[in-house]
């Protein structure tokens, strides 16, 4: 009798899983986008990057990042305070990220040696972030509206979504696939294919931790198969919902960073 119950229970579970296995692809990418870039209403982290080129030469980047969401899944503000290497130490990079199709992000750079607040005229989001294999868009998130999404595979563990750019001429890739964890909705792997369909770049989430209840990628690595270079990125001191004030993302704090960013 007991085993019959067990079987029924398991079947029930399975059927509910089956029902859940045909989710709307838009719902999946929306949820994954929130998990990857919008956990909590704000947050901070210390980021270490190790860039290794084909010859094995290593370069490091270390910066603290503060983030505040203006709207979940929408506009965000980023405050990036550089600590390493020494020549960029104390530089601050401020981003007002806009997800509207026609609006470029507003970006500022503070150069402490000159006490100069500079406006950055960079409209191309597919450029390298601080010389690493991560692109600006890999860090701040690519707008979901820029691609069409198709669920090409769904297993117990992963949803695989194929993303095709709506404006192919604006990007260097042909399409990319994202493997999303079905339970946490953390994007576990991104695979970029060139216009001929050859895989040339992967981004993998290699370590996930649950911090304040939020599944968080604390280690990821980009491998560029064409240039044989790779960048490992590690997040430390991650905190969410720290009540960052809006004023932090203004010129006042650009010129004199808040303690949250320095420590």
């Amino acid at each position: 009798m007991k085993s019959v119950w067990k079987v029924t229970f398991l079947l029930g579970m399975t059927s509910s899983l089956v029902a859940a296995e045909k989710p709307d692809v838009q719902a999946i990418v929306n949820k994954a986008n929130i998990v990857a870039y919008y956990q909590g209403k704000d947050g901070k982290a210390t980021v270490k990057m190790k860039i290794t080129n084909k010859q094995g030469q290593e370069r490091t980047r270390e910066f603290n990042i503060l983030r505040k969401d203006v709207k979940d899944g929408g506009d965000q503000k980023y405050f990036v305070y550089f600590q390493r290497p020494a020549d960029v130490r104390k530089m601050v990079y401020l981003v007002d990220k806009h997800t509207d199709k026609d609006r470029d992000d507003d970006r500022w750079l503070y150069m402490p040696g000159l006490d100069l607040v500079k406006r950055i005229a960079a409209s191309d989001k597919r450029t390298s972030f601080v010389g690493s294999d991560f692109l600006y868009e890999d860090i701040s998130g690519r707008s979901l509206d820029d691609d069409t999404h198709e669920l090409i595979q769904a297993t117990d563990k992963l949803f695989v979504v194929k993303n095709v750019p709506k404006e192919p001429d604006s990007v260097e890739f042909g399409h990319y696939n994202v493997s999303i964890d079905t339970k946490t909705y953390v994007p576990m792997k991104m695979e970029f294919y060139d216009k001929k369909g050859t895989l040339y770049k992967t981004i993998e989430s290699t370590k996930i931790e649950t911090i304040q209840g939020f599944p968080t990628v604390v280690k990821s690595v980009v491998s560029n198969l064409q240039t044989a270079s790779k960048t490992e990125m590690e997040f430390g001191k991650v905190e969410y919902d720290i009540n960052l004030n809006d004023s932090i993302f203004t010129e006042r704090y650009l010129r004199r960073p808040p303690r949250e960013a320095i420590r």
């Binding site: 040696g113 000159l114 006490d115 005229a121 409209s123 450029t127 006042r252 320095i262």
Partner: protein, 430 residues
Amino acid sequence: MISCRGATKLSVIAAIAAVLLPAAVQASEENAGESFFSELPVEMHGFYEMRGGYRLRKDKYEKDMSIMENRFQLDLYSYLDWGDIRFKGDAYGDLVTEKGYFDMREANIFLRPLDYMDLKAGRQILTWGTGDLIFINDLFPKDWQSFFIGRDTEYLKAPSDAAKVSLFGDEANLDIVYTPRFDHDRFISGERISYWNSNLGRLAGQDAIVHTDKPNEWFGDSEIAGRLYKNIENYELAFYGYRGYWKSPGGQTPTRSQATFPDLNVYGTSLRGSVGKGIGNVEFGYYESADDQSGRNALVNNSEMRYLIGYTQEIARDLTMGVQYYLEQMLDYGRYKNSLISGPARDEYRHLTTLRLTKLLMNQNLRCSLFTYYSPSDKDVYMRPNINYKVSDNLAVEAGANVFFGDYPHTFFGQFQNNTNIYTGLRYSF
């Protein structure tokens, strides 16, 4: 000039020590048994740099060597509960002047006494305004000599001994900078860079070093600069005011033996924000030469209007282009011309354009840049090519040039033709 800088430096250190000392005593009382210094989170950084360069043309008034120096910068920074303390100083040995120098770049404290107020006092680098290597409302001291001989661009800004009070409000923000004793530019004096000497009617250099009669009295010869600014949907609007002196010599004593820094008031405004795919900026300033309101005094600069419009855009991946158009208009030109004592007259309008091209290569480790000033009215050009390569996280090498040419020997950049130089440098940062 060096000795006066030294005196200022000492007084700043004294002022900071006076502020620090009671705090140190207080801190040690609070943390009985613990050393004050062990509580101090001091960040220590800096760099060591070697830089050398030569003139490409024979200049009979200056040495062939344009720059040859070893420089060590130490940057100490500490943040405490009540504020931040910063010291940044350069010690360098200069083979051109055959002297050693200590240049205190920063020595200041930062306090936030109120939620809506910041205060920074002491020696500091100050910058505002929207121009790219063109300054209208930024009347903080510049070091043109360092700029022209090929030091890092950072050295274009000379430090101020000042107090900066910033007030932040919902409607707008206000910065007030009070400099108790006039801080002039490190201007072209003939010491390192030859120049057009209008009294002699020829180029001159070490044979005719510019001597100055400068406003030098503490609190009596002070400067005050203000900026009222607001960010409106990421368009940055600012209004500026300045009361002080021409920052580089703007006049002469009646005997014409010394250069002077006549009174100057400046009122201006600027706007910066995104335009199309790039960033646009406009800036304007009215330079009121207060010692010569009528424009009749031949020994004092005319009043001027200065206008700037600029645009920067990323034109290809990791390639940025910036263009600017700048206009200087003399306001009492007829009177200036009638009272002119010697030398060719300036034009009423000086038109200047600039072009900046910056390309990043090799994972942004190689930066190639070219900044060009071209004046169609003065018919002169100043080009600043530079290549900088980051060999590793700590080590960078660079090479560049300062190239001047012009049709006339007396124009703004044309006068520096014989100072055309190339340089190379190596910097280890820690």
